[in-house]
Subunit: 685 residues, 2 copies
């Protein structure tokens, strides 16, 4: 303890830096940084262990700013600490191509753990980071070697508190007894609509107690630095529960508009900044000033962190002597590379193998690769038996106290919490020692759209095992049958959507998903059995699209995915027998990967001169990019046995053939028919 | 009170009916119906007021089965009550084109209030129904005329309890002090993954108390009918809080597998059903049996409900004498028709009017029409000042006790709860007296994807005011800039996605959204100012697509939406001046509506013989259906001033022209170029 004028100066420096930067960019949120500067100062200068010169040290304490709009707080801290954020970067706040964008982006800015801003996500990421820490500790710590014991801290505001994704994550965190997780709630009573009493009057502390959290309250978060520090230390001592500190602060502290929503999302006016600087004893004529003694104070703390990292490295060396394999495994995991030769475990099939549902094929993959890839950590949103996401010998990730598993367990019981599962997977992946996958029905990946979007934006390798992928789920009916879902996620940049048609395609989907370090994947899997295709190989499928059935002088190319590819193969015979038409069949299990192939290859799959028809039992949107005509389902499905549903909507050899005949007829007079692969210009990417 | 053997018989009849139907369909969920049959019996036979012969009576008690997979419970009850569900319908459970699909669908089945199944939605719909009831009471009740005083009951299980959307809705319901809402939580300790102790160990009762709910606990929900009835009646008496009854039940009560997840989602085996019937004293050889005395018991209660409706109608007649306008208003609202002449209030613009952001144009519409359409009830997920969703004189919908508004208020402060807002809007619309709209940033409509999907599936008129609709929001950056969002919702069946380009298009979007009784709408609106277009009229825009700028012997058609239409108009001049090319410009503010026009009209807008280029600052997905080439953004955006962002990605007259030139060049040798409007065959709809 023992706070002095220098601490006050540091706090006010952060406040004024936030005011200066938002003023200069004429945009941004000064209020929360000004209100949270005291707790941020205590945390970054007295509590947290980190090394600004190496933001990748695995046992660093993690910090997540869930109220990401307050990012000038984080940028100011990272700059003062000595991360790779210069004062010029601060001045470039919210300008094009800066590393200080409007909300923190992990992929672009040193010291940012996860991308935040969409409310509720960061808090849920923090739960993921804390799970990963407990898991890594469970896997790697040995007697005398507490390699992994970092804390995860997160700031959140009223907005995050109101979001359902955070509620889900908080409930799970309480269940999991994540003792190393400390959330600090900026209870400033102000949201954009004004006082929170207009919409948010619940007892937040009581709610968190109901979730099984330890709760502390600090009444004067503006001044009571000792109280803040004491509260955090008390939380650190609670080892069997996550902790939440309810911290009363004044939004925009020091501004003429403090304590109003006027200071939330708009820069202060010039005269307000002037009086602010005067009030704090600073030169009102100067902007973007950090006194040297403030730098010194923070650099001293950073140096202590660097020394701790050095000690830790020494411990790791000793550990490596005693636990060679574990140490090598940890180091490898942190590179993101998979163990050599893991892919030899991927199952391979031939057309004579019996038909199997692709959700089952996915289970076989997991069963076969889980030993080779120890960092694979799975789970399901309470649909384990339907998603088939759990290998037989799996141990659950659970607090040892509840007797249902342990910290090193690799299967997470997410409960019916799809959105939190997505956000937690982002946190798990960000920690560095885990590759997460999670299961639910494809239709309910949409519940997690906010989290999937952030996986894609922040280049996170997370894998969705999305079963029951179409009307083929049958009886559950339209409420559970995806129509728009594939189009939705195919339209999301940097997101691989796979819809494998058989065993080899399923193995290929996993291969590409697991080896793509910077891209999330959604693997859409069937409930119903699928035959293995004649030309399907891992190598073919890994190209995202390939020819399943070729033919000389073809009249049409049928282009399909997943469960419909086999029906297209059947349609080939029907078309020959009934219409004397020759059809090729192409499978495109992943648009994103197919698009990345050479134009020459793509044209070999979807050549000029032959009309093409896509066949997929959901929205046709997006298929026009690959085919001339589209057969799909631009309406909701139906409840019934899956064969009846397919028949109702004519996804049968006959129904496909009817459209194929119409397509051939429609294009018969077109000279030099071009494949849609040919485009007039390149897209921006 | 006073329960007898007949009650036990009725309960067991329901249980066995659920077992028979799931057995016959070889699919479905017998466990929850068997466990909840006692409370359902008490509720439907002793508590609720309804008339099975008129399921539209506005003051009926509402019942929502949030755990929609338990729908055989609801179908059984509705059948026994005498709603339009025959025993043959029960036998057709989960078969194609039946009115008893795998999850309850409001649009198709008599007596179903809202479509449920996706977990958490029904509970949140119930909050919406309860809000609508309080609102209607606030608007229509007069001294001596308590026209509107129904209760809303909802059943929910562990799954709904875990979903974030339900947490959001519960928090808001507590804030709003919705005394007429009674939720009954089936605390059976079993979820699909097994015992809830593997993932869900929070103190649910305490959590609800934290939200401000009244909580009752019934320990023996299997047998204690008196206790159930007493708990419900106690909840009815609590007028200033919503109530939750935590009811311990045994899932699959009576089955050999009771109290295991084996009975959750799979039919009982034949011998299990046999022993069940024997245990209950029924003939094991007979299926689908309802004893006449059970029918009689329920019909008696239904007749009492019919009598109450009659009394109510008499009250309404008297009310109509004294409050003629109010009575006429209520009756009109229940038809779903808008007041005559309301559309005269829609603002109309000419090209000489100053440029205005379309979010502001939306605000002007709301300001001008709110008096003419008294059933319009708006709100925002804590972004009122950004979404501009509140007309000046609006009163907040609030419990009078908090002093911030009253029950008749027409503006709902949803808090930062997008998903609950969506689900609550579905409940509001289902009540019958309200047309809901709600605001958030377009990017965060994705948080509510689960609710929007159900709006579309269940034909609900709900309107999303989705502002900050593109990279044009500028500094907030990629975390807030939609890329995939329009494609996502355009791919959703029965959902209108509008992106108006100017004032008249904004008015047209509202016109079509408000008059489409069976379709939700998302109106995407800009943060930045937009000029008014030369050929934009309400009549044109109401067609979903029209020619903004025509030209003889055009070389190319530029096809665009929203903020990019004006830039395309500028590109026309640039193309003429720099490349001597003649361009037409088409605006397509709504795909869904444009698709509904005659082919002749669509071909007049997008004619054969002229290459076309779409221009929209987000995913190009879906545009191939209308244009030959696409200029869009298949990557994430950037943080910066909006003009800088547009420039970075070349959405300028120059950037558009570059692609237009490439497009003209690419198609110059194509004979008889066909418009993409021409298709080989019709899609299924």
């Amino acid at each position: 303890m023992g706070y002095a004028d220098i601490d006050k100066l540091a706090i006010n420096t952060i406040r004024v830096l936030a005011a200066d930067a938002t003023f200069k960019s004429n945009s941004g949120h000064p209020g929360a940084p000004m209100g949270m500067a005291p707790v941020a100062h205590v945390l970054f200068n007295k509590i947290m262990t980190y090394n600004p010169k190496n933001s990748n040290w695995v046992n660093r304490d993690r910090f997540v700013l869930s109220n990401g709009h307050a990012c000038m707080l984080q940028y100011a801290l990272l700059h003062i600490c000595g991360y790779k954020i210069s004062m010029d970067d601060i001045k470039a706040f919210r300008s094009i191509d800066s590393i200080t964008p409007g909300h923190p982006e992990a992929h672009d800015t040193d010291g940012i753990e996860v991308t935040t801003g969409p409310l509720g996500q960061g808090f849920s990421n923090a739960v993921g980071l804390a799970i990963a820490q407990h898991h890594a500790a469970g896997e790697f710590n040995k007697p005398g070697f507490e390699l992994i014991n970092n804390y995860t801290y997160t700031f959140l505001g009223d907005g995050c508190m109101m979001e359902g994704v955070a509620s889900e994550a908080a409930s799970l965190a309480g269940h999991l007894q994540l003792g190393n997780l400390i959330a600090i709630y900026d209870d400033n009573h102000i949201s954009i609509d004004g006082d929170t009493n207009c919409a948010f009057t619940e007892d937040v502390a009581l709610r968190f107690q109901a979730y099984g959290w330890h709760v502390e309250v600090v009444e004067d978060g503006d001044h009571d630095l000792e109280g803040i520090e004491a509260a955090i230390k008390k939380c650190q001592e609670v080892k069997d529960k996550p902790s939440m500190i309810k911290l009363r602060t004044t939004i925009g502290f020091g501004s003429l508009q403090q304590n109003t929503h006027g200071v939330h999302g708009s820069p202060l006016k010039a005269d307000d900044i002037k009086q602010l600087k005067e009030k704090f004893g600073m030169d009102p004529e100067k902007s973007f000033v950090v006194p040297q003694e403030v730098y010194d104070l923070y650099h001293k703390h950073g140096d202590e962190g660097a020394a701790k990292e050095k000690e830790w490295e020494q411990m790791l060396s000793k550990y490596a002597e005693k636990y060679k394999d574990e140490a090598a495994d940890l180091k490898r995991r942190l590179t993101g590379d998979l163990p050599e030769g893991w892919e030899k475990n991927l199952p391979v099939y031939s057309p004579s193998d019996p038909a199997v549902a692709s959700r089952k094929l996915s289970e076989i993959v997991l069963q076969k690769i889980h030993q080779a890839i120890p960092e694979l950590v799975g789970g399901s949103a309470d649909l384990t038996g339907s998603n088939l996401t759990r290998w037989k010998e799996a141990v659950d990730f659970q607090p040892p106290a509840n007797g249902l598993g342990d910290w090193s367990g690799r299967y997470i019981r997410y409960g019916v919490r799809e959105h939190a599962m997505g956000a937690i997977m982002n946190g798990l992946a960000a920690y560095g020692t885990v590759i997460p996958y999670g299961g639910t029905f494809l239709n309910f990946v949409s519940y997690a759209a906010g989290a999937v979007r952030l996986s894609a934006l922040s280049h996170i390798r997370a894998i969705w095992v999305a079963t029951h992928d179409s009307i083929g789920l049958g009886e559950d009916g339209p409420t559970h049958q995806p129509i728009e879902t594939l189009a939705h996620f195919r339209a999301l940049p940097n997101c691989m959507v796979w819809r494998p048609a058989d065993g080899n395609e399923t193995s290929a989907a996993y291969y590409v998903a697991l080896t793509s370090k910077e891209t999330p994947s959604i693997i859409a899997l069937s409930r119903q059995n699928l035959p293995h295709l004649e030309n399907s190989t891992l190598a073919h499928a890994m190209k995202g699209g390939y020819v399943v059935h070729d033919a000389e002088k073809a009249d049409i190319t049928l282009v399909s995915t997943g469960s419909e590819v086999g029906i297209c193969v059947d349609a080939v015979k029907y078309l020959k027998d009934n219409h004397n038409l020759t059809a090729r069949v192409v499978s495109v299990p992943c648009f994103e990967v197919f698009d990345a192939q050479s134009k020459e290859y793509r044209l070999s799959v979807l050549p000029d001169g032959i009309p093409s028809l896509s066949v997929e039992v959901m929205s046709t949107m997006g298929w026009e990019r690959y085919t001339h005509e589209q057969f799909g389902l631009n309406r909701f499905g139906a409840s019934g046995a899956y064969k009846d549903v397919y028949k109702k909507f004519e996804f049968t050899p006959e129904g496909i053939s009817k459209r194929a005949v119409a397509t051939v007829d429609f294009y018969k007079d077109v000279q030099n028919l071009r494949s849609p692969i040919n485009r007039a210009f390149q897209q921006l990417i």
